[in-house]
């Protein structure tokens, strides 16, 4: 057994380690239980939940692009009541933190979910204001400082559990958005959601995704995710959870150095169902090999070449 301390705390919630399965890539955990021990995970952020059941978008919903994938699932989920009845009891069987990712068309929808979940045994809420695959809501709240202030300040009133706000990278200045979320009462920030993208089939002359556009994720977006994580972590004073293209312990370490208190592993769960655990073991080995005692020896410990970046946005 390793002596390295992996515990990390995000606004009072103690995670046994910094590896969390990212929303939308891990279902409600069940499917991955066939491949890994869910008790080993720092946490699970579940598939985005809406008040009512959603069918999602017509297929094809996925396209492979260089070092990435485009998806357009469109928030298919069983709806809040079924989630509470069926999935929360399952998740409570495991010694891992449960984060519930919530979405809606209207701010009121988010409020309803936050209120209903306030009496449930879950650890945190993650406000999805960054899904690019639905016609209404979500991204429209998350892509402006005013929009995010409005929704976060209203939803926060209904939250009993700490509120993470998940940011979209499809903005000009993510620092401004993050600060606005903080000012409105966000307890933590997670970033980045997918980048809006497109892939075209040159034989049919049509987009591969039925929905035309989709969200790009995977290693292709890691440099962007890392830069944004660094920018946000150095702008706000609430904890930051970094994600975007993490496939290895080395990738996770980069996000931790950039200032993330924890990381989320997303797309790579599709490639390797053991991805989260592999990343965790690799983080552990890195810390051991470098002679660190704790994960906190590296969080935010990035040493810039110059105090200011070469081309500040």
């Amino acid at each position: 057994m390793s002596n390295v301390k992996l515990e990390t705390e995000i606004c009072g919630v103690k995670f046994k380690n910094p590896v969390i399965a990212a929303s939308g890539t891990f279902g409600f955990g069940k499917e991955f239980g066939d491949f890994i021990d869910l008790n080993l995970l720092g946490g699970i952020s579940v598939k985005g939940i809406t008040v009512e059941k959603r069918d999602g978008n017509p297929p094809p919903r996925i396209a492979e692009t260089p070092s990435g994938i485009l998806n357009s699932v469109g928030l298919q989920n069983p709806g809040l009541d079924k989630f509470i009845k069926k999935e929360i009891p399952f998740l409570n069987n495991f010694d891992t933190k449960t984060i519930v990712n919530i979405s809606g068309n209207l701010i009121e929808d988010y409020c309803i979910i936050a209120e209903k979940l306030s009496s449930e045994k879950i650890d945190m809420l993650e406000l999805n204001v960054s899904c690019p695959n639905v016609k209404k809501g979500c991204l429209q709240f998350g892509n402006s400082a005013n929009g995010i202030y409005d929704i976060v300040s209203k939803v926060k009133k209904y939250c009993k559990q700490p509120l993470i706000v998940k940011l979209t990278p499809n903005v000009t200045d993510i620092k401004e958005i993050a600060l606005s979320a903080q000012e409105a009462g966000a307890d933590a920030i997670s970033l980045i959601n997918t980048l809006l993208g497109m892939a075209i089939d040159i034989n049919t002359k049509k987009p591969i995704l039925k929905n035309n556009f989709g969200g790009l994720s995977g290693p292709a977006i890691k440099p962007i995710a890392l830069r944004m994580t660094y920018e946000v972590a150095n702008s706000v004073n609430i904890p930051v959870i970094g994600m975007g293209g993490i496939v290895s312990g080395d990738d996770a370490i980069e996000f931790l150095l950039a200032g993330a208190s924890a990381v989320m592993v997303g797309t790579y769960n599709f490639v390797t169902p053991t991805a989260c655990i592999d990343v965790l073991h690799e983080i552990e080995s890195y810390l051991e090999n470098k002679g660190y005692n704790s994960i906190h020896d590296i969080i935010g410990k990035l040493e810039l070449n110059y105090e200011k970046g070469g081309c500040e946005i």
């Binding site: 891990f26 066939d34 297929p59 070092s67 699932v73 790579y268 769960n269 599709f270």
Partner: protein, 261 residues
């Protein structure tokens, strides 16, 4: 239940232009595999091509602990597979998905496949118990006709057609099948092939009031039922729902599937 395992290539044979038969050794898969299931294979060493490629089982040899996959080179992933040689290892998840219904009450069975859709039907055919087995296979041209001898060995009657008439019946095999349906009564139809063909067969099954199972294809993400990308429209009473090919399928009863367009 699907497992992640390393399979070792025993043989990789070219069946036709760009079409391969890959034989893989894995005792753990062969002991639990069922007819109609698939495996999801990692088809790159690096990170450029992330997604696994789902490929139906075309044969399983429990005694020798090997299984076969048939595939056509369509992109970088399948090209990677086509270059695998004896002794190479592959990162595989499987067996995945549900199975064909092999009810022994079916006394007269029709199997109809198009193109590389014939592969899972071969595994099915080999595992059918005693019954009359009529097989209908359609290909684009003579050069793409595959598995003829193998199908012949296990079927009672085999009918082959090509779209251009360069071999066997001329035209879509479904048209020939329709003529046969007018003369013969089948207890069940099993089908796999292009979506348009499956749609046509589903309509025939309805018109002739015959049970019919079809194996569907859709672009997949995780292949284990978590990412929800491989959606297909399935009737639920008077409504419908998006079910998922990887977990709820790939095999569905044709009268529950809604074909859009």
């Amino acid at each position: 239940m699907a497992r992640k395992f390393t399979g070792y290539v025993i043989d990789n044979e070219i069946l036709a232009k760009d079409i391969f038969r890959l034989k893989i050794e894995s005792d753990s898969l062969t002991q639990i595999a069922n007819v109609g299931q698939f495996v999801n294979i990692k088809c790159s060493n690096g990170l450029e091509h992330l997604l696994r490629r789902p490929i139906s089982l075309m044969d399983v040899d429990k005694e020798n602990g090997t299984f076969d996959l048939g595939f056509q080179v369509k992109g970088e992933g399948t090209k990677f597979l086509s270059e695998k040689k004896k002794g190479d290892s592959l990162d595989i998840i499987g067996p995945s998905g549900n199975y064909f219904d092999l009810n022994s009450d079916y006394k007269k069975v029709a199997i109809i496949g198009g193109g590389i859709g014939v592969f899972p039907l071969y595994y099915l055919l080999k595992n059918l118990k005693s019954c009359k087995k009529d097989v209908f296979l359609g290909f684009r041209q003579k050069q793409y006709v595959i598995m003829e001898d193998e199908f012949k060995m296990f079927s009672d009657d085999l009918y082959i057609g090509t779209d251009d008439g360069s071999y066997g019946y001329k035209g879509f095999i479904i048209n020939y099948f329709k003529m046969m349906l007018e003369k013969n009564r089948y207890d069940i139809i099993y089908a796999c092939g292009p979506t348009l063909m499956l749609k046509g067969i589903s309509n025939l099954a309805k018109d002739f009031n015959i049970n019919c199972q079809i194996s569907l294809e859709q672009r997949m993400g995780c292949g284990i039922g978590a990412c929800l990308v491989c959606a297909c429209k399935i009737k639920m009473g008077k409504q419908w729902e998006y079910k998922h090919v990887c977990k709820d399928g790939p095999v569905f009863w044709s009268d529950e599937v809604i074909f859009d367009e």
